[in-house]
Structures are given as C-alpha cells and as structure tokens.
C-alpha cells in the first residue's frame, strides 16, 4: 500500500472515511443473520432434492427470501449515510478545504457554532425532502426485485 495522505488530502479524504465505515457494518450483519433464519427449511430441502447445488440453492431460494432484508438494510443505510456526522466532526472537521463538509456537519456548524438556527432548520427540511425522494425512488425500484411471500410489505 503506497503511503498516502489519507484524510489529509482533498482527493482521498472521503474514500478514507468510506473505507473506515466498512468496519461498522455489524448492525446490518445482525439483521442479515436474522433474515437468514427466516428462510423456510423445506424449500432449501426441496431444492436439494431437485438436484440444486449450493450455488443454485443460494441463487433461487436464499437470495429471493433475503431481498426484504437486503432492501431494509439498503434503505436504512442510505438514510444513515445522508446524515454522516461523527467522522466529519471528530476526524476531519469538514476539511481539508471542505472536502468532507457533509450535509449534517454543515447544518451543525450553521446551527451550533454560528447560531443560525432558522437557516439550519431550513437545511434540515431540504435534506428531508431529498431523503424522501431518494427513499421513494428506492421503494419504487424495489417492486421489481424485492420478493414478499405474504405481501406483508414493510
């Protein structure tokens, strides 16, 4: 690995933080584990009897049953990443040269260091609209690949 400026260079600051955040997917992992338990055993069995190998079973039984879980993690993940704050505050303070000036960090500085509460509240609503639109798009897109057995969509 070449030595790099990591969070001290404009070009690599955000990739560094992304890399760092991959160490925080424990939560999603637990939810995936839970989702895996919900897969009907008899279907996996039936697939084996039909001669499906490991890969085919994963492809045609496990994956379709996991789509709601994947979708849940996707939506919550997207909403959470829109609101990245801690890394920017603790590690980079929005720098270098505003390269990591994330939305919420900007909102925070507006509200709590410059005292522009009204402006910050407006920022929050703009973010809300953006998140809402993205979420709706995700939901619309989900119809084509998320599989609900009962149709008890979340």
């Amino acid at each position: 690995m070449p030595t790099s400026q990591w969070i001290y260079s404009e070009r690599t600051a955000i990739p560094s933080l992304i890399l760092m955040s991959t160490w925080g997917f424990g939560n999603a992992m637990v939810i995936f584990l839970a989702g895996l338990q919900g897969i009907p055993r008899q279907l996996l069995e039936a697939a084996s009897i039909d001669g499906a190998g490991t890969w085919a079973r994963f492809r045609s039984v496990t994956l379709p049953f996991m789509t709601p879980t994947i979708f849940y993690n996707l939506v919550t993940g997207v909403i959470a990443t829109f609101q990245v704050f801690n890394q920017a505050y603790v590690m980079t303070q929005g720098g270098p040269n505003n390269a990591t000036l994330f939305y919420i960090y900007y909102l925070y500085t507006k509200a709590f260091t410059q005292g522009q509460m009204g402006y910050a509240a407006a920022l929050a609503w703009v973010l809300f609209v953006i998140v809402l639109i993205v979420t709706l798009l995700l939901f619309r897109n989900a119809r084509s690949w998320v599989y609900y057995e009962m149709g008890d969509a979340r």
Partner: protein, 318 residues
C-alpha cells in the same frame, strides 16, 4: 421420479431449474447444505477456500482493533515508525495510567452509566408497552398507526434535531442529562421504533390462548402484560437492552449538543475532547480509546448468543 423417497412436504415443490433427470437419493437431504453423498473431489478444496475467505474476512475486521491495542501499548516514537511495527517494545503500560488520570474518565464512566440505566429502563418499559398494544390488543386504526410509526424511521433525525434542541433550551434543560434521558421514556430513544418493531414481532409468536385464558379469569390487559407476556419475552428484552446499551454508549451527537460542562461529559464526549487536547500523544489517545471500547467488546463477547438468538427469534422480516 419414484415417489417413495420424497419426504413429507416436498410434494408441492417446484423444480426451480426445471430439471427432472435427477434420481432422488433415497434419503432426505439434511438442511446443513451438504447433500448426503460420499466424498466428492472438490468438496475439501471448497471447504479450504471457504475457510480461507472467512479467516481473511475476520482478520480484516480485527485489524483496526489489534492496531488500537498495539498502539495503546507503545511509546509515541515507536507508533510512528514506518514501516509500522506490530510488537510493542517495551510495553508502555504507562499509557493507560497516564491517559486515565489526564482526564476524569471515572466520572465520565459514571455519567455514561447513569444515562445508560435510565435510558435502558425507559426504553424497555415503554417500547414493550407499545409493542404489546400493537400486537395483542385490538383497537381501531391500530395497523394504520403502526404503519405511520414505521414510516417515522424514514424521517432523518436531522429534521427534528433543531426543534428538539430549541425545545430543551426553552425548558432550561441544556447541560443536564434530561434531554438524553427523557425521550427514552416515550419510546423515543435512538432506535425506539425499531425496538417496538422487534418486540411486536416477538409478541406475535406467543400463543393468544394464554391471553384469552387470563382474560376469562378476569385479568386486566396490564396483568396479562406483566405476568404473561413480559416473562415469556426475555430473549427479545435482552436484545433491546444490548442494542440500547450500545446506542447510548456510542451516542456522540446527543451529548455533544446538550452537555457543555466537562464534569457532565459522557465517555464518548470525553474521548473526543481528549483527542482535541492530546493530538500528538497517540499512545495516550489509543489507551483511552481501548478502555472506552473494552466494555462493548466484553458485552458482545458474553452476550453474543442472545444477540443473534433474540434477533433471530423475532425474525426481522425486512
């Protein structure tokens, strides 16, 4: 295909691949994913590859933690050697005592535990009551309200951040634990809705005959909640406790907004201010971080079983 070897429940299966040329194998395939079949070439190789992938993955996950511990035990000049070294020489145990006395970490710990206690109690009680109402009581509009509740997960916390802050400041509650504690008593701490969802899922798995029997004997819903549902729901309660504990432990923005005097700091906040003051003293910083992370690691280590079990039992259906 001959029928005599097909297990019960497999009659209505559909061949996903459309291949019917396979002869059934005389035994029900175990669910472990391995067909009962003698040793096939490639099986062992596959296992080895699988293990390797898992080991590499686990190592990748552990590296930051090992790095942290290794740095916590080194003197500052050894930490910065390039290429980096993995083994401290000498072991700089002094980092720990130095770091822990440089700031009142014991006080921070006490503050954090106080908040933990109040928040966990409130979260478990109020989320359980809500979940009970959403799963085992019938009332008009129940499912609509629950759907609205679920959509509130989609609401970015940032939207409510400013109004909430202004509210607490009007109530003269800034620089107290109140803003960090009170929401939990309204099922509104960090993952309030998620907790309600988890608990509701779990409650739905408890047989309704129990409630009915109790109601016939003249019990009130409260009584059913306390004497039937709660005692049977230990696994999910444990999960909610763990999630809440970790959430409070790692909460940074909350304390940052509401706590200003440093004798009220939580561990997360104390660590951040420590970082601000001791930027160059990596050994101290790493030692302090290790101490702050340790309880979480231990907690997970001992309660991992419940962790997965509890979430599993409730089966998060996305």
């Amino acid at each position: 295909m001959s029928q005599e070897t097909i297990p019960v429940g497999a009659e209505e299966r559909e061949s996903s691949t459309g291949r019917t040329d396979r002869r059934p194998r005389g035994r029900v395939a175990p669910t472990s994913g391995l067909r009962p079949h003698g040793h096939r070439p490639g099986r062992t190789a596959g296992r080895v590859v699988l293990w390797l992938v898992l080991i590499v993955g686990a190592a990748a996950m552990l590296i930051p933690f090992l790095w942290l511990v290794r740095s916590a035990l080194m003197n500052d000049d050894q930490i910065l050697i390039a290429p980096p070294e993995w083994w401290p020489r000498p072991f700089a145990w002094g980092n720990f005592s130095g770091a822990l006395t440089a700031q009142p970490f014991a006080l921070y710990f006490l503050n954090t535990i106080t908040i933990e206690f109040v928040v966990i109690t409130g979260t478990v009680l109020t989320c359980a009551v809500s979940a009970f109402s959403f799963s085992r009581l019938r009332w008009r509009g129940r499912n609509v309200v629950f759907a609205i509740l679920l959509t509130s997960v989609m609401l970015p916390y940032a939207v409510t951040l400013i109004p909430t802050f202004i509210m607490w400041s009007e109530l003269q509650a800034l620089n107290t634990f109140i803003p960090l504690m009170v929401p939990a008593w309204f099922a509104g701490a960090g993952g309030g809705v998620f907790n309600i969802f988890l608990m509701r899922q779990f409650f739905l798995t408890i047989p309704f005959e129990l409630d009915e029997a109790a109601y016939i004997d003249g019990a009130s819903p409260w009584r059913v909640f306390w004497t039937i549902i709660m005692p049977l729901s230990k696994p999910v309660i444990v999960v909610v406790v763990i999630f809440t504990f970790i959430g409070v432990w790692n909460d940074f923005l909350g304390p940052l907004l509401y706590l200003s005097s440093d004798n009220k700091f939580t561990l997360a906040l104390g660590l951040a201010s420590f970082q601000g003051q001791y930027t160059a003293q990596w050994g101290y910083l790493m030692a302090a971080s290790t101490v702050v992370i340790l309880p979480i690691i231990l907690l997970f280590f001992f309660l991992q079983r419940y962790f997965v079990e509890g979430v599993t039992l409730t089966g998060v259906k996305g």
